[in-house]
Amino acid sequence: MNKFLILICAGFTLLSGELRAQDSGAADPYPLFVPYKESKTSWGYKKNNQLVIPAKFEYVTHFSEGYALVKSNGKWGYIDTLGAWYIAPEYDKGQPFQNGIAFVKKNGKTGLIGSDKRVIIEPVYDNIREDYTSYYLVNNGKYGLLSRDYPDLPAIPPVYDSVLYYSSDISSGKNSDGSWDIYFRGVKTLEHADQPVTYKNHRYMYDMVIVSMNGKYGVHSLQSGWIIQPKYGVIEFLEFPDYRIKNEGVSMIFALHDQDLPAMDPEWMYNESLKDSITFAKMNGELISSMKFNSINSSYDRYSEIQPPYAIEMGRNGKTYQLMPDFTIKEFKFTNVISHMYNSYFIADAVGGGQYILDKNFNVIDSFYRVEKYREMVQDYENSGEMYDPETGEYIYEPDFIHKDVEEPFLVVYKKNGEKNVKAFYDLEAKLIMTPWFDEDQAVTVQRTSIGNFYRSEVALNILYTFYPEMDYANMEANAGKKMGYYVKGMKTGTELIFQVNNVIPVTGSFFVMRTGDPGKETHHLFRYKNGKTELVSTEYEVDESINLYGLASENSYDPETGEASWDYMPVKFTHNFLVLKKEKKFGLVTFDGTVFKPQYDTIMQNTSADFIVNTMLNGKYGTIDLERGYEIKPQFDSELYINSDIYSGNQIIYNTTVYAEQGSYMLDLRGRKFYGRPDMTFPRRVKGKYGLYAYSLSDMYSDPAVQVKADYKYLEQSFIPSIFLAQGKGKKWGMINFIGDTLVPLKYDKIRPYEFNGDNSFLLEVSNKKKKGLYDLYQGELIPPKYSEISRLGDYDIMYNLFAVKTGDKYGVVNINGQELLPAAYDEVTVLYDYGTYVVATKGKKKVAFSTQYDQQPQKLQEYDFLAGGKGYVNKENGFDVYNLANAEFEKTVPMDELVLNGNMFNIIVRNGKFGAADFEGKELVPCVYDFATFMEYRDEVMIGYQNGTKYYIYVENNERFTEEQW
């Protein structure tokens, strides 16, 4: 087709000539075969103007799908391109093949044949209608149906006024009397039901349907008959959170209603006037309980964000009951239930007065006269805004505050105290009162703060509650003098209100501070929380936040004209929080990790070369404190210690330390240890039969090297990592030390070699003892103890990177990066499977186990499979397969042998008569089912691996070409 460009004015479209969105190909794959009419009743075919098929037919049509419909001697048949009969002329009428089928007529009756000569529908019908799902068979004005998905199954005979297709398995036929017969895969399973199968009375994942017979409802299994006899007024499906059954963790139960109510009444389940008329049954028809109920108050909703602990709540004679997921029924003795913290707790009225605090399973935790949620004052941003002040003519910002429910693990509880009530705050987790009692009318503010070191797991997190009379935000002056108390878990109760209310309580690491006393004369109570206990560290220091500490200028300006420099005092920018301690003009600090440096310094300020270093000064001398590690160098230097960034940031350094610039002819590390050469100028030297480390001084390259590390090793050698040395100790064991003598790898291994190097700060070593291997990380220590003959990573990326196949004897297991054994070394082989997920697969004999690598943790459940495919595990059964979800090893369903379909990327593997083969996605067989077993080939979507009589074949499914192992 010629391409051309068309210019179009405004509103026109630039057209490149290729507007076509699809090209479905030629209508006729044999366009050269042109029908040729020699006379009215003599037709043949020409090709390139040459007669190729003689004009011996009464009528011909074009070739379609390889064959042409032609008429001969009054009958219709099909010929091939050679003019030979493919299907002999036996039909009164025929249709050219379209999509592999053709409607034909014989003796006045219509049928359907396939282009493979198969008779799909015998020509015994007056007519046939076709739609996307079905063939509708018509005889004498009556209808039947044949599913297009199952043309080999029996057809529903054309004896119905109408037929209703529901699914490829299920259809219904309407009788003249208005009743319906229901068919399952072509077999009549129920007669004379009041209604057909529709989405209203069927759930797709189950083979049962709710139907009525003569106005009474029952539940009918399409394959096995009545599960619940039809004797109920109404039956309703209810979802049930039965996590033992797989289908997104939901199954069904039935609500059975005695009374005869209109099925379309949407309110019937909630009609409390229905007395004792509702029961429940499991999916197998078994009654859950003999109890009958008046109403169903609420039922399970899988899509709801908030899931109650029960499945269904029912009413009966003024009482409330709950059907639990284990099918037990509990009387719910509470009313006016309020959820707290998204159903983690509940507040409910108690029978006879008072209120309960309930846990998520509705067990009573405690009871009080009254229980409420805490409401905090928050700014209402929607309504806050500027107000016009007519006096000043200006707009003033007027924040507005509102109270809002707090979903935190504490509640407000009340008790009677004479004629008045009092209230306190209740810790739901510790189950105790955590504050003093306040007047009922007293507004109290509770703040909840986390304390603990988030970065060091050994210091547990806890919650610090502080409480005080509510702040008056409109008049802050009125808050002067207010006192607060505090509570931390582990305490039997909170303190009295003896501490000053400050704006912010500096909480650092596991420390917090409370202040008592009058402003200007406060006592600072420094508390430390550790190991579940709170201890008072000191009251003798004044404590402040590091943010309030001003240090040396971090910026300065120089005016060249005047020659003057000026310093700007800037807030410090420490990377690690700390508390400042002051006493009698001396300064100290408490690091985030809890290292206390008592007030002994004249001043402390930020080191200008590093954000994690504090300079200390005493009598004019400088020292440092490393806020990250807690190291201290006592003040002894005339000038500030300056971190040598070149060395620190050198890309060869993997040892996480920093060194200071030269102090004379030596340098210091952060602990203050001296060393004389840079790490890269350090080398081993043997002295008197032992090895130590020497270094050339940076300041004097020509002087003799100085001792860096005393010669105390049996052997030292520069390792494969710069500035790190292999060291052999007295026991001939090996380890590694750094240039300054720190032991990085303890000297206890027979061998050390690099496992791998990824160029970053992590470095993995293979360590071995007695020929058993383990893994050691230079930063993190021993990851996997040396007890395996082999260790290899399972994958190159993501979660597989942290899983290792380990070998003991001739068996393999799986270990994670933390040395945790995920699979014992009991398997013949361990591999990785990428198939609708990532799985570790271990083989033992002919069995396999598999688990998902998603969490690199020990699988909770291991199931043995016979084969795996499509993210599923299959276990052979006598006449089929049990199917499991590989991700969690949960059973899903049992599939009959011949219904097994393994979904592939380019074809499916199917089973027929117990043999495996391949089919396209429409079900057309591509590879005959002759194999004893078949599976997909990894990384080759077009290949199927089949086993036949013990021989393994590789089969190109597209053309069914196969190769043995050798040929492959």
Partner: protein, 427 residues
């Protein structure tokens, strides 16, 4: 992109029988009725030499061996079926649009074929095998200069074909875009002035945009286009916002000729012969009825009419297209049922002025003023998709109204009007 949408307050749907009580035949007496099978909104009727020609979808549109499928030749005076043109082999041989000329009958089927029959001998002259169904009406014109009528048509999901009327040989096929659903019947007009009829139609090609426009994509790939009758090449194409089922309408606006296209999401585009978009406006969804314009400049679509004179249009800036301003009135008849038939324009009430007359699928015929105001609606025995046919078919100088309904009947009704219909037949 349509700038201004008309807020269409479509009529609420009344239950059958709740509004129109008058039977149509009480005002327009029935002349005859013939059983011809089911028809669709793509069905046309032709009057040729005293006979009515109409295609049929048979007893049931989905029957695969339907004896009523085919084309019917009916005596216009008596309603007697003179001949039933049938496809000699089985399959879904539904016929929608037909064309008659040069003593021949032309039609396509749902069975992937296009046929030509001799009107005299009733014999099949030729047939052409296609990749899919022919859903719409064919057009006849001499495309190759042999003084014989050739035929052009579109194929659902495929292309636009022109066949030699004498022998069925392929003259050309335009594959630049597909016919999409193929429901839109082409219009013929010499767009490029070369003396050979060209064809205006709609189809789907590549989308020009990935953007979303409100509830839908900005462009699904649909175009209104003109195809050169001589070569089959696309002369011009303009975008439209959705698939097209309605057929284009040509009307003369003074000296100018405009072509109206309507897509299924209600975007109406007016285009001149050179493909310049002149006007745009928007109606509601589900438009299967083709637009038409009355002589007093009302745009008629389905059950209503919109002012279509220059005063209701405005330009946004200096450039085209023009848009309908919000003051423009659209008046729709409140009559029950969906409308897919195109509304005709004729003076069926003998009032010396045109009315618009249409039919619904629920079995109502409505007659309104050209401005859309309902005059009256009537009940007919069954609903209809096919557009009415209004002409003097029997030479008695009075107009007749033909209704092909969904019960499979073609019924002829008498009128008292001698007026010439302005727009009396769909194609």
């Amino acid at each position: 992109m349509v700038r201004k949408n008309i807020c269409i307050a479509l009529a609420c749907l009344f239950a059958a029988g709740s509004f129109a009580q008058t039977e149509f035949k009480s005002v327009f007496p029935e002349k005859w009725s013939a059983k011809i099978g089911v028809s669709t909104y793509r069905t046309n009727m032709l009057l040729h030499e005293g006979k009515i020609f109409i295609g049929s979808n048979g007893v049931d549109r989905n029957y695969k061996s339907d004896e009523l499928d085919g084309v019917y030749e009916i005596d216009a005076k008596t309603g007697k079926i003179l001949h039933h043109y049938e496809v000699p082999f089985s399959g879904d041989n539904d016929v929608n649009g037909v064309a008659v000329g040069d003593g021949k009958l032309f039609f396509g089927t749902d069975n992937y074929y296009f046929f030509c029959f001799d009107l005299k001998t009733k014999e099949e002259l030729w047939k052409y095998h296609l990749p899919y169904d022919v859903e719409s009406c064919p057009q006849l014109a001499d495309l190759n200069g042999d003084k014989a009528l050739d035929v052009a048509f579109n194929v659902e999901g495929f292309y636009f074909y022109a066949l030699n009327g004498k022998n069925g040989d392929l003259l050309w096929v335009n594959k630049s875009i597909t016919a999409h659903s193929g429901n839109s019947s082409p219009l013929k007009y010499d767009v490029n002035g070369d003396g050979v009829m060209d064809f205006l139609t709609s189809g789907r090609g590549n989308s020009e945009s990935d953007e979303i426009d409100g509830f839908k994509m900005a462009h699904y790939g649909d175009y209104n286009l003109a195809i050169d009758g001589k070569s089959g090449k696309t002369i011009w194409a303009v975008t439209t916002g959705a698939g097209v089922h309605a057929s284009p309408f040509m009307y003369r606006n003074g000296k100018n000729t405009e072509f109206l296209f309507l897509d299924s999401y209600g975007e109406l585009t007016s285009v001149d012969a050179k493909g310049k978009v002149l006007k745009k406006c928007n109606f509601g969804y589900d438009n299967f009825s083709s637009p038409a314009v009355t002589s007093d400049q009302y745009l008629v679509i389905g059950r209503g009419a919109l002012e279509f004179n220059p005063k209701v249009f405005y330009k946004d800036g200096d450039s085209l297209p023009e848009y309908v301003n919000n003051d423009a009135k659209y008046v729709a008849a409140e009559v029950g049922g969906r409308i897919s038939a195109s509304t005709m324009i004729a003076d069926v009430l003998a009032r010396n002025s045109d009315q618009i007359i249409g039919v619904t699928e629920d079995g109502f015929v409505f007659i309104s003023k050209t401005n859309g105001e309902l005059i009256e609606s009537f009940k007919i025995p069954a609903g209809a998709e096919a557009s009415l046919f209004i002409q003097d078919i029997d030479g008695d100088k009075f107009l007749e109204i033909l209704i092909a309904d969904l019960a499979g009947n073609l019924t002829c009704y008498k009128t008292k009007s001698k007026a010439k219909p302005t727009y009396g037949r769909f194609r």
